[in-house]
Subunit: 301 residues, 2 copies
């Protein structure tokens, strides 16, 4: 078996930054610190933080109950009103919002000020997008996951009076999907103002798996099951390599997925800690030794 790591994978700058904030707090043995929402979309990491005293709340109102003194805003960010409400409660807010997401907040604020309706390409239930909508004011906005949803909204007449539009995307979007949306808007809206808000790390991880997936037999994509960017890595890999599996950590690996002569490609979402990637590699090597010894021959045949 040969294990080939994608050239770029795992923690992005924004995630690393927020996780370091939390790790520092653990190191300093600070008490009564929580995060607003799971800090990143990785259960192993959020469990680790919880075990070390940093739990999370999903609502501002739950902050009192936890007697929190400090609240870390998750990497995905939050609505402006959430931050304001937390401050009103007198807790110290540590803004862990990814700087690339903050840039989206600033863009939609500016578009609102300039009176541009806004189209967001992304998942309307994702905390990043919920956060972004909290910075839009006094202009109509639409959230679509793809061009088909946009076509549907157009059919409903939602764009009949719209002469200009600002377009932003979830930072983890796939450029191919966004292009389709922009190309479609170009047909019927006189001014389409597109902002590239896909973050470079997402681009890089996606490009790396684009490169790797066609040349391997199996791809293992490591990342949280709710992690948008991980799901996108999975989709890209799967389109080249049918034997692609999305796992959260080494416990999800199955020896049946592998053959002794396979080339195995590895990638990981931006919220996957390095130690999980390492555990996965170790486990696959363990499988390799088992396969070499022929120990599970009967099971596999």
């Amino acid at each position: 078996m040969e294990i080939i790591m994608a050239e770029k994978m795992g923690f992005c700058f924004g995630v690393r930054r927020t996780v370091e904030i939390a790790m520092k707090i653990i190191e300093n043995k600070e008490q009564n610190v929580i995060t607003y929402g799971p800090i990143i979309h990785n259960e192993d990491l959020t469990n680790y933080l919880k075990q070390n005293g940093i739990g999370y709340v999903l609502n501002v109102d739950d902050v009192d109950e936890r007697k929190a003194e400090k609240v870390i805003i998750r990497t995905h960010g939050a609505k402006r009103e959430v931050i304001e409400n937390l401050k009103e409660k007198g807790v110290k807010v540590i803004d862990g919002t990814c700087p690339y997401v903050m840039r989206v907040h600033r863009i939609v604020e500016k578009l609102s000020k300039d009176d541009y309706p806004i189209l967001i390409v992304g998942n309307k239930d994702h905390p990043e997008i919920i956060g972004v909508t909290g910075y839009i004011s006094n202009v109509p906005y639409f959230i679509v996951k793809d061009v088909e949803e946009l076509e549907e909204l157009r059919k409903q007449g939602k764009f009949d009076k719209i002469k200009k539009i600002g377009v932003v995307t979830q930072t983890t979007e796939k450029i191919e999907k966004v292009r389709k949306v922009v190309n479609y808007l170009m047909d019927f809206i006189p001014e389409v103002r597109y902002f590239k808000t896909i973050c470079y790390a997402t681009d890089e991880n996606q490009n790396a798996i684009h490169k790797l997936a066609p040349s391997v037999d199996v791809v293992i994509v490591i990342g949280g099951k709710h992690s948008s960017n991980t799901i996108k890595l999975y989709e890209i890999a799967k389109s080249y390599c049918p034997r692609t599996y999305h796992i959260q950590n080494e416990k999800d690996l199955k020896i049946e997925w592998f053959n002794i002569n396979d080339k195995v490609g590895i990638t990981a979402g931006a919220s996957t800690p390095d130690w999980i990637i390492q555990n996965v590699v170790n486990k696959i090597k363990e499988f390799e030794r088992i396969l070499e010894r022929g120990e599970i021959y009967e099971k596999r045949s």
Copy 2:
């Protein structure tokens, strides 16, 4: 033979408007009127105007020589400084600029004011584009005919420092080509502000030939040999129908192009007067009668 006319073809709103201005002048027997540049890209029409006293100049300086009192700005428009220079000479300027082209002038003026570098998709030698550049001030601008030219400029480092860009197009551009340009810009420029400046008539004429060309044996595209929109109609038709011919008027038609059982599709550029279209149809019908009588049997076999 069956002659099928494209659902939309010929004079657009802007051309019709400018030509009507000139026709009115002829009707009123006004003297000393010229146009700045050929009023539209159609030799038959410019010859007709010339025979009726309305010639054209290519330079502002030639106006004096002609003792012109009124100057009609051609449909394609002109640089602002041309209009200013004409006014300084004391001649009356009649602005025949197509309102869709005027809109492009206003957009690039606004982009200049807002400090956006500008990309123009179009033909740098076309009077429309030369006119548009005359409304850009204090910002860098680039003219590309397609995505390949844009890639070349990027390789030369022209976009290295550019963080935002406004995009306008020649009003006669093909949307497919413009999409490629915008898609490419989306890769590396953080803000791409696209303005749909392709005019609806161009769209309609192009859509109509898209629809018609696949179902006929021969396509005749009528229009001036310098007419951008006519050339584009030709390219579209040719991509579906190998027996596509671009002619300026009925005199260019050749009987060898036709077979007795052909379906013949007809389209015409936005600067083609209706009477030329009618002459072409009449000539093809004449060919049909000749073919039916078998008169040129020997020549063809």
